[in-house]
Amino acid sequence: MTRYKLMLSLTAAATALTAQMMPPGGPPHPGGGGWGPGPRGGGSRIIEAGPASRTPVTGAPYSAAESTSFVEKLGDGNVISRQDQSKVYRDSQGRVRVEHTGTPPGSQTPQTRITIFDPVAGFSYVLNPADMTAVKMAVQGRRGANTPPPAPANAPQPQVEDLGTRAVNGVAATGTRTTITIPAGQIGNAQAIVVTRETWISTALKVPVQIKSSDPRFGTTDLELTGITTSEPAADLFQVPANYTVTTRGRNNGGPRMQGMRGPRR
């Protein structure tokens, strides 16, 4: 019963961001393509967000618009596509704010979710402007250790190609193309699957300005960071408005974990 209530809350909390899990037109039919959520919950919510690197990028503020397009070709020849839009801000202290707006499947009303990652104060927040609520989570303290990169393993490597440096979306960026081949039979696939990803990272800002991914299991994505300005964003963008109701959440509140979950078949 508790779980059912949670599912209801998840439905209510469905956001544009989490629409990344939900192709337009409703959830995918089992076995009929797509990897989005099933029909029971019908929604999902962001519970955490932040940069992959634990070392905040400081002294390089910027503001930009981020657009991500998703295209998935179904087995019957049909195509599912959608676009997400975000506004991204980072200040000189390394604090990051992402405002993500989109329209959930089955809805005509765009919804916005805001995430603030504040390594200075040691907290991250997920804001829901619709009901003026925010969830606060602790961020691990920083350490300055710089462990030398480990030596490459002798195991087979994905194919990584250095694309050099060029201007992308108005800024200098270094590019890398990674190709991964899933051999036939590894995940039940009759033929080999080729996964590719081309990433362009701003040399000054240290963030992706363009990512083009293709994974036949999920479709293709094209992320573009445009309209980049390097002025200092307003400080209040990285603070929860005073009229928001803030709740603090720990991590281990997701219920028991399923046992026996496994990776690829053997």
Partner: protein, 143 residues
């Protein structure tokens, strides 16, 4: 080395994994064991985001392993790496969402769960490109 330092060191190496620089197998196994040991501590001493970042980093690295990782290695606090997912860049903004997934969707990822129903509750780690990097299925308490 205290546990926090061990964790910090592990995090650094895991981030190196995420950036495409993978440690030797023995070091990787040591990191996985250390990560799991710390994560089992009753007093949860580090943040959810740190866990998520480590999971993503590990997921990205493990996903690229060939031959594929053992079940013990790719199972971190219930999170399982999406096999053969492309690595994430250090500057990417990652998201962890809680959602409902068809079991067939997990099959498509290459992940098998012993689920009795056709859909499950799960937490999914997404790269900035919106593609899944790791999944943790949550038991349905109503069952």
């Amino acid at each position: 080395m205290d546990s926090e330092q061990s964790l910090a060191a592990a995090m650094e190496s895991l981030r190196a994994i995420a950036s495409g620089q993978r440690p030797p197998e023995r070091e990787r196994q040591r990191l996985v064991a250390e990560f799991a040991r710390l994560h089992r501590r009753p007093a949860f001493a580090w943040s959810g985001w740190a866990a998520a970042a480590a999971i993503v980093a590990l997921a990205a690295g493990l996903a690229l392993r060939a031959p594929r990782p053992s079940a013990a290695a790719d199972d971190m606090d219930g999170f399982v790496a999406v096999p053969y997912a492309a690595p994430v860049a250090p500057g990417e903004f990652l998201r962890v969402i809680r959602t409902e997934l068809y079991v067939s969707a997990l099959d498509r990822m290459g992940i098998t769960v012993p689920a009795a129903s056709t859909q499950v509750s799960a937490e999914v780690v997404l790269g900035q490109d919106g593609l899944p990097r790791a999944v943790r299925v949550i038991e349905d308490e109503s069952n």
